[in-house]
C-alpha cells in the first residue's frame, strides 16, 4: 500500500482522490440502466412522434419533422386528456381522504400492530394489478350487493356502477391507495409525539394541534403520496378499460389504441409526449405551491 506512510514517496495516488473516483464507478450500473431503458426509448419515441406517413406504402412511416402530429393528437383526444385529469385528480383526493386517517391511526395508535397493519396495506399488491381490477368488475357489477344497496338508496344516477366513471375512479383510488398510505405513514411516524404534547401544553386544542403541528409536519408525506397516486393514475388505462364504458376512456386508452390497434405510431408517441409534458408541468407547479423546500 503506497499511501499508508508519508515516506512512501511521490508515486502514491492520494487516498482521497482514489475514493472519489470509486464513487463515480458506483454510478455506472445505474447510468447504464437509465441509458438503455430510459434515454434510448425516450429518443426513439420522440423521433417517432415527428414521423410522417410513407408516400409509398400504406401503414408505414418515414422520418420527418411533422410537428402537426402534436396538434392532431391533441385536437382528437383532448376530451380524454381532460377526463384523465379529472379522474386521476378525484382518485388522488379520495385516496388522501381514505389514506390519511388510516396512516395516522397506524402511526400513532398502531402500537405493536404497526408492522402487521402496514403489511395488510400493501398485501393487495401481492396479487396482480390486472387480477385485482377484474375482481372489482365483480364487486361493482350490476347485481352485486353494493350496487343493489346503493340503488335501494337511489344514490346512483345511472342505476349502476360498472361501466361508469364512478367505477373508474373507484378502481383508480383502490389500486393506488397503498402508494398514498406508505409515504403518509413514513411522514407521520417521524413526528415526535412530544411536539403534539407541546401543542396541547401551549393552549392548542386537539383540532388546532392537528392543523398547526401534525398537518404541516406531514406535508412532505402528503406531497409524495399525492404524486405517487396522481402520476400513475393519470397514465393508467387498465381501470378505464375494465371498469368504464367507451365514454369513460382515459388518455392511456387512447395511447394504447393508437399503438396496438391503429398502429398510428406517430400519433401515439405524440400523445405520450403531451401526457409527459402535462404531468411535468402539473407536478412542478404543485410542488412549488406546496412550498416544501425540504421535500427532496
Amino acid at each position: 500500500m503506497a499511501a499508508v506512510l508519508p515516506s512512501g514517496g511521490v508515486s502514491a495516488t492520494p487516498v482521497a482522490q482514489r475514493r472519489s473516483r470509486t464513487g463515480y464507478f458506483l454510478l455506472l450500473p445505474g447510468m447504464a440502466w437509465l441509458g438503455i431503458f430510459f434515454a434510448i426509448p425516450f429518443i426513439t419515441l420522440f423521433v417517432t412522434s415527428l414521423q410522417a406517413p410513407s408516400p409509398d406504402a400504406a401503414g408505414q412511416f418515414v422520418p420527418a419533422f411533422q410537428v402537426s402530429n402534436y396538434a392532431e393528437a391533441f385536437l382528437n383526444y383532448w376530451p380524454q386528456f381532460v377526463r384523465s385529469l379529472v379522474y386521476a385528480g378525484l382518485a388522488t383526493i379520495f385516496a388522501l381522504l381514505i389514506g390519511y386517517p388510516l396512516a395516522y391511526f397506524i402511526a400513532f395508535r398502531g402500537g405493536k400492530w404497526r408492522g402487521l397493519l402496514l403489511v395488510l396495506v400493501v398485501a393487495p399488491t401481492f396479487a396482480s394489478f390486472l387480477l385485482r381490477t377484474y375482481a372489482w368488475q365483480t364487486i361493482l357489477s350490476d347485481n352485486s350487493p353494493i350496487t343493489q344497496f346503493l340503488n335501494f338508496l337511489h344514490l346512483l344516477p345511472d342505476e349502476r356502477i360498472l361501466n361508469t366513471g364512478i367505477a373508474v375512479v373507484a378502481g383508480l383510488t383502490y389500486n393506488f391507495l397503498p402508494f398514498m398510505i406508505l409515504p403518509l405513514y413514513a411522514a407521520l411516524e417521524k413526528i415526535d409525539p412530544r411536539l403534539i404534547e407541546a401543542g396541547s401544553d401551549l393552549y392548542a386544542s386537539p383540532v388546532t394541534t392537528f392543523r398547526k403541528v401534525t398537518w404541516p409536519l406531514s406535508l412532505p408525506g402528503v406531497v409524495a403520496g399525492t404524486l405517487l397516486t396522481f402520476i400513475p393514475a393519470m397514465g393508467d388505462y387498465i381501470n378505464a378499460q375494465l371498469l368504464g364504458s367507451t365514454g369513460d376512456r382515459m388518455i392511456g386508452n387512447a395511447i394504447q389504441v393508437n399503438f396496438i390497434q391503429f398502429r398510428d405510431y406517430p400519433i401515439a408517441s405524440a400523445l405520450s409526449f403531451i401526457l409527459m409534458a402535462a404531468i411535468l408541468v402539473l407536478v412542478f407547479s404543485y410542488i412549488r405551491r406546496a412550498g416544501t423546500e425540504d421535500l427532496v
Binding site: D192, R194, L195, E197, A198, G199, S200, D201, L202, Y203, A204, S205, T208, T209, K212, V213, P216, L217
Partner: protein, 362 residues
C-alpha cells in the same frame, strides 16, 4: 404581582403496569415560590410534572391550584406551561413563531412586542427567523424557556431546562429565571440534576426517591440536617458511620461505633431504635496533625486516622482519611492554611462540632 394560588398535589399516584412511578405524593407548593425537585434518574420527576401539565392521567389522587381541581382538565385548558426535557420545539416554525405559538392560540393578535422582548431576554433576538434545527443545543433550550415563559402561566414546569448550557450561560439563565420568577410571581417547579442550582435558586427543595418525596424544606435546612440516608448522600456528600445508641442524657445522644464514642443533639437524630448511622458533612470536619491532638476542643467528636489521598481542587483540598476500623472518610478543607498541608501517610485526627452531627435510621 397578580393573584396566584398554591399548587397542591393530593395523594397523587401514577403506575405504569406493575411499576409505580409516583407513589402517593402529597405536597403543597406555595404560590409564587420557586420549588426545586431533585432526585436520581428514573425516580418519577418527569412523570410528576407531566401529571401537573395534564399530559399524563394520574392513576389516583388530585391536582389543585388553589381550590380549583384541575385533575380532569385537558392540558390545553390548564394555566400551566412546560419547558420540556427534550425541548420539543416545532421544527416547521421559526424561532419567532415558536415563541408566539401560545399567545396566538389564545387569540392574542399583537404578539410582536411580547415576542421580541422575550427573545431579547433570552438573547436570541437576531435568530428570530431561524428554524430550530439551525440553533445550537443551548440556544434551543433558551427558545424552549422563552416559548413557555411568554404565556405567563400560573405554574411553570421546568424539566431540566438548563441541562445543555455551559456554566457561564447556565448561571446567567439561572439569575434570569429567578428574576423573572420574582417579577411575574409565577410558581416555578424546577427539576434539575444540579444540586447547586437547586439550592441557589429554590425557596424549597424536595428530594425525591423511588416515587416519593424523602425530604423537603429550605435548601439550607435540608442540607444541614438530612433526615434519610438517601438525602444525606444525594444532596451533597456525607460521611456515614454506623453504630449503636449507647445512651441519652437529656438533649444529647451518645453513640458508640467501632470502639469510638460520638455525641449528637437529640433533635438531630432521626433513628428510631438503637441502630444508628452517625453522619457529618465533609466540610464540617477539621483535620489536625496527630501530634497536635491535644488542641481538639473537648466537646467535639473526634476520630483518629491516616491520610490516604489528597486532591487539591483550587478553593479547597479534599482528603481521604482511613479510620482505625478501615473506613475512608472525606474531609474538605478551605485552602486558607499557611504552611504544609497533610500528606498521604500522615497520622491525623479529625474532629467536628457535635451540632454538625446528625443521626439517621439505617
Amino acid at each position: 404581582m397578580r393573584q396566584v394560588d398554591d399548587l397542591r398535589l393530593d395523594h397523587l399516584t401514577k403506575s405504569f403496569g406493575e411499576m409505580t412511578a409516583v407513589d402517593d405524593l402529597s405536597l403543597t407548593i406555595p404560590a409564587g415560590s420557586f420549588f426545586a425537585l431533585v432526585g436520581a434518574s428514573g425516580c418519577g420527576k418527569t412523570t410528576t410534572l407531566r401529571m401537573v401539565a395534564g399530559l399524563e392521567d394520574p392513576t389516583s389522587g388530585r391536582i389543585l391550584i388553589g381550590d380549583r381541581d384541575i385533575t380532569g382538565m385537558r392540558a390545553y385548558q390548564r394555566p400551566v406551561n412546560t419547558v420540556f426535557q427534550s425541548y420539543a420545539l416545532f421544527p416547521h416554525l421559526d424561532i419567532y413563531e415558536n415563541v408566539a405559538f401560545g399567545l396566538r392560540r389564545r387569540g392574542i393578535k399583537d404578539v410582536k412586542g411580547p415576542v421580541e422582548s422575550m427573545l431579547d431576554l433570552v438573547e436570541l433576538g437576531p435568530m428570530a427567523r431561524r428554524k430550530p434545527s439551525q440553533l445550537s443545543g443551548g440556544q434551543q433550550q433558551r427558545v424552549a424557556v422563552a416559548r413557555a415563559l411568554i404565556n405567563e402561566p400560573e405554574v411553570l414546569l421546568l424539566d431540566e431546562p438548563l441541562g445543555a448550557l455551559d456554566l457561564k450561560l447556565r448561571r446567567q439563565m439561572q439569575i434570569e429565571l429567578k428574576r423573572i420568577q420574582t417579577e411575574v410571581g409565577t410558581t416555578f417547579v424546577h427539576v434539575t440534576h444540579d444540586q447547586e442550582e437547586a439550592m441557589t435558586m429554590a425557596d424549597t427543595v424536595a428530594v425525591m426517591n423511588a416515587g416519593r418525596i424523602e425530604q423537603m424544606g429550605y435548601p439550607a435546612e435540608v442540607y444541614e440536617l438530612p433526615r434519610t440516608l438517601f438525602v444525606a448522600n444525594f444532596l451533597g456528600q456525607s460521611n456515614i458511620i454506623s453504630g449503636a445508641v449507647a445512651g441519652s442524657d437529656g438533649s444529647m445522644v451518645t453513640v458508640s461505633a467501632h470502639g469510638a464514642a460520638f455525641r449528637l443533639p437529640g433533635d438531630r437524630n432521626s433513628a428510631s431504635g438503637a441502630a444508628i448511622l452517625v453522619g457529618v458533612r465533609p466540610e464540617k470536619v477539621t483535620l489536625l496533625d496527630a501530634v497536635d491532638s491535644a488542641r481538639v476542643p473537648a466537646p467535639h467528636n473526634r476520630v483518629d486516622g491516616t491520610v490516604t489521598d489528597v486532591s487539591y481542587t483550587g478553593v479547597s483540598t479534599q482528603y481521604l482519611v482511613r479510620t482505625p476500623w478501615g473506613q475512608e472518610l472525606t474531609v474538605f478543607e478551605q485552602n486558607d492554611i499557611v504552611g504544609d498541608r497533610a500528606a498521604v501517610g500522615d497520622p491525623v485526627v479529625m474532629h467536628w462540632a457535635v451540632e454538625h452531627t446528625f443521626g439517621l435510621e439505617p
